[in-house]
Amino acid sequence: MSRTVVKATVNGEPVEFLGGGGQSLLDALRDELRLTGSKEGCGTGDCGACSVIVDGRLVCACLMLAPEAEGKRIETIEGLADGSNLHPLQHQFLEHAALQCGFCTPGLLMASKALLDRNPDPTETEVRYWLAGNMCRCTGYDKIVRAVMDAAADLRQEKPR
């Protein structure tokens, strides 16, 4: 279990933690940094509950080794809101009741953010295919897809292009 110091930026703040062995980025976030908002549903990259954004790319934190985070810019659910102002995605998930148990919600929100960062006006089909890596067993996805579409519209109004 040789461990090395890993330096990265998490939600805009510089962090240092000990990483190594078979430890994933998800384990490091949860166990070393105590950012438990990212969840482990499978540990094999199939469910998306651990979705985070690394240098602008959507990744499953369970599939990335912790030392690979060296020098990277990592966004997690804990950084999605701007202080106490919710992100439009968070707001629309609440308005639409797009969560039941809420366990998949952090991952779905981060995956949705990664989508809207690159495609501000997705079709329903584009939302469904982009989110196909994020399983939700409670909602049947209907309200989630609507929430993402409405959040996209909110963001377009905020930032006219």
Partner: protein, 756 residues
């Protein structure tokens, strides 16, 4: 007491406020089972059987025990071997001895993944290494996976002491058939003799997992004085307390169970797997222990629900009146008795008024994980067979499938086969609304087909507790006794706000642990909004009565002259110069009128009303791959009155999606050696967003439940009952033959299409 029919006057019930725990859940602050951390906490890990069936000859943990960092090792000898009795667990009883044996095997392992030992160590990697160092010597035994093979004479026997119940005289030889369940009425042979039309078929379904995204997780901490705490994700903190305390031989009052947020359960978290093991480890070393299952462990050793084999035969007149039916249901129980086959028998024809019925169910053990409850346990499989057969009947008679169901639908006063009388049922109205829907009237495109199916679930009431505390500033905290699995904090707060006349923003709702609120049954059986909601309303009514008394005292008027409306007490006595007293005004001077204002109510809620659902599924099939795609879906349901309609819609949509997965993709696949071959989300294929269309809902509020203060019926389970047949009926119409075996995987559909 209100009568459940006060629709026009409601101000909060029926609205769609943001749930009280919403912000926690969209910001990552909500703490689920694996999110707790305590100082000095150890990581636990479980050693599991590689065999489907074997005798445990010896467990040698000496090498593991000497590994630095290993603090405790437990096996079944660390449980209370005398533990016995049953615990009420949602929709059935759970035998404690079998739960203990399932948590840690003693004499034999009964399925691949059966737990045999556990380790607690200072680091997860050390715990994993220690698990590999534990040497278990097995004597492998012949195994049996398939339900029909397990029933056959000469099959490998799982339990030498298992004799079929429900057979007279008592059998003298043990069997894998744990129970024969028989029910019926009337003259079934006569009905078939005089029938104009008979349909019959054999239907099978595969074992499927509940598929909650959060794996089982807990932290357990033993105190030196024996007083212990367990934090865990479950559907019932009181159920966990009872099972853990009894398995470890300790008084219930020495154990506090704190419910974490729960990341889905669907019935699968109405038992324990990890909690007694974690506490036994903590008891051995005096440090807190965390145990978390991997997804593979979830598939191997928790859930699933039964696979089934069913023969169904229906007799009808030529104008579509069903005169009689007979059905055989054989359900897999997994390694220990307890499949929901009796519920399958009870629900199979519960939508229909059929005079002559004969049902026989078999509960069959085999070398699979012990089944756990799954949303309307036992009903979806039975409904798959019956609703497919009724679709077949509609085709034979040339009748519209909804008209055929309307002709036979239960109405109030009908007797069910299990003896209950149908009350407050809106099945007819639900069918009529589906028939009148835009979806049903929309013509299908070429290559598409539409499936119709119905479903029933009892819904239950039972024991619940709730407290309402008025804060000094006139706000209110509701303490619920049930884990919030899908938004129940919102409905509890709304019913309290409605009763107290407060805006929803002034009411908060928390979930109490076992030491801070009275007992409650589990979050299961679609009972929380009904039963715990009733306790909340009664507690709020007590608070209102107390507020009125205090106002009367303040004014020096007769209590009968005090009115409570919109959160304000008013005096109707014109002789008094009494200014209205707000909640805040009364609460701020509560010390002068008798002390803090609060009420706790514990009840055994009666009068739960059954629910009925009708689903429509439009579907097309890719002729090259056999892949089915659902292109339009509507779920309609008799919901009594929807307290928070968005969360009720969510139940219908989520249940439909699970049912679609059950119908098209999901199954436990076993190899010859009894290994589960698809224990991952990659290979056990649950529906993802790109697999599904929007799911339209129709909330039928024609018959509010008169036994609930706001008319609520349970809503969570009904929606998984119709989809299996709704999907299969559509597939059958496209394929051109009756598809009788779930899942309707592309390969199976392609093979059926190739034959034609």
């Amino acid at each position: 007491m209100s009568d459940g029919n006060q629709g026009g006057k409601l101000k909060v019930v029926g609205q769609r406020p943001i749930r009280p725990d919403g912000v926690d859940k969209v910001t990552g602050r909500a703490q689920f089972g694996a999110d707790f951390h305590l100082p000095g906490m150890l990581a636990g890990r479980i050693k599991r059987s590689p065999h489907a069936h074997a005798r445990i000859v010896k467990i040698d943990a000496s090498a593991a025990a000497s590994l630095p960092g290993v603090k405790a090792i437990v096996t079944s000898v660390d449980f209370d071997r005398g533990a016995s009795g049953e615990v009420e667990a949602g929709e059935g009883h759970t035998a404690i001895r079998e739960v203990a044996e399932n948590c840690l095997a003693s004499g034999k392992v009964l399925y691949v993944g059966h737990a045999v030992a556990a380790v607690a160590a200072t680091h997860p990697e050390i715990a994993a290494e220690a698990i590999d160092l534990i040497e278990v010597t097995y004597e492998a035994l012949p195994h049996v996976i398939d339900v029909e093979e397990a029933m056959a004479p000469g099959a490998p026997l799982l339990h030498a002491d298992l004799f079929t119940k429900g057979v007279n005289p008592k059998p003298d030889k043990p069997s894998n058939i744990a129970l024969k369940s028989v029910m019926g009425r009337g003259d079934v042979p006569g009905a078939f003799k005089s029938a104009d039309v008979i349909v019959e078929g054999r239907y099978t379904t595969a074992a499927v997992h509940q598929g909650y995204i959060e794996p089982h997780a807990c932290v357990a901490s033993w105190g030196a004085d024996g007083q212990s705490t367990v934090w865990c994700s479950s559907q019932g903190q009181f159920l966990v307390r009872a099972l853990v305390a009894k398995i470890l031989g300790m008084p219930l009052s020495d154990l506090k169970v704190i419910p974490a947020e729960i990341g889905g359960g669907f019935g699968g978290k109405t038992t324990v797997y990890l909690e007694p093991v974690a506490l036994a480890l903590s008891r051995k070393c005096g440090r807190p222990v965390k145990l978390v299952m991997s997804r593979e462990e979830v598939f191997l050793a928790s859930g699933p629900t039964s696979g089934s084999v069913m023969d169904v035969k229906i007799a009808a007149t030529k104008d579509g009146k069903i005169t009689g039916a007979e059905m055989m249901l054989a359900y897999q129980a997994g390694a220990f008795p307890g499949s929901p086959v009796h519920l399958g028998c009870m629900t199979a024809f519960a939508c229909y008024d059929v005079e002559n019925l004969a049902l026989v169910g078999y509960d069959v053990v085999s070398n699979r994980p012990k089944v756990a409850a799954y949303r309307a346990p036992g009903a979806p499989m039975a409904a798959f067979a019956v609703e497919s057969a009724i679709d077949e009947l509609a085709r034979k008679l040339g009748m519209d499938p909804i008209d055929l169901r309307l002709k036979n639908a239960v109405r109030d006063g009908a007797k069910t086969v299990y003896g209950a009388t149908v009350k407050s049922a809106a099945f007819v109205e639900t069918l009529e609304m589906v028939k009148a829907s835009a979806h049903y009237k929309t013509p299908l495109a070429k290559g598409q087909a539409r499936g119709v199916a119905a479903g029933f679930w009892f819904n239950i009431g039972g024991e619940s507790s709730a407290a309402v505390h008025v804060d000094e500033d006139g706000g209110v905290t509701v303490v619920s006794s049930n884990p919030d699995i899908g938004g129940s904090r919102a409905s509890m707060a709304m019913m309290a706000a409605e009763t107290l006349g407060l805006p929803i923003e002034r009411v908060r709702c928390i979930i109490g642990d076992t030491a801070s609120i009275g007992y409650s049954g589990s979050t299961g059986g679609s009972r929380v909004t009904f039963a715990t909601g009733m306790a909340v309303v009664q507690a709020a009514e007590k608070v209102v009565a107390d507020l009125k008394r205090r106002a009367a005292e303040t004014w020096g008027c007769d209590l009968a002259m005090v009115e409570w409306a919109d959160g304000v007490a008013k005096c109707a006595d014109p002789s008094k110069d009494a200014k209205p007293l707000s909640m805040k005004a009364i609460a701020s001077r509560s010390a002068k009128t008798g002390g803090p204002i609060a009420a706790e109510v514990s009840i055994n809620a009666q009068g739960a009303a059954a629910g009925y659902g009708v689903h429509l599924c439009d579907l097309e099939i890719d002729p090259e791959t056999g892949r089915s795609t659902v292109i339009r879906y509507t779920a309609a349901q008799d919901v009594g009155r929807a307290i928070h309609p968005a969360y009720v819609e969510g139940q219908l949509q989520g249940g439909a999606a699970q049912g679609i997965g059950w119908a098209l993709n999901e199954e436990y696949v076993y190899g010859k050696s009894g290994q589960l071959e698809n224990a991952s989300f990659l290979d056990y294929r649950m529906p993802v967003a790109s697999d599904l269309p929007m799911i339209d809902t129709i909330l039928v509020e024609a018959r509010p439940n008169p036994r609930h203060p706001y008319g609520a019926k349970g809503v969570g389970e009904v929606p998984i009952v119709p989809p299996l047949a709704a999907v299969a009926n559509a597939v059958s119409h496209i394929v051109g033959e009756r598809m009788t075996s779930l899942p309707l995987s592309p390969a199976k559909v392609l093979a059926a299409m190739a034959k034609r």
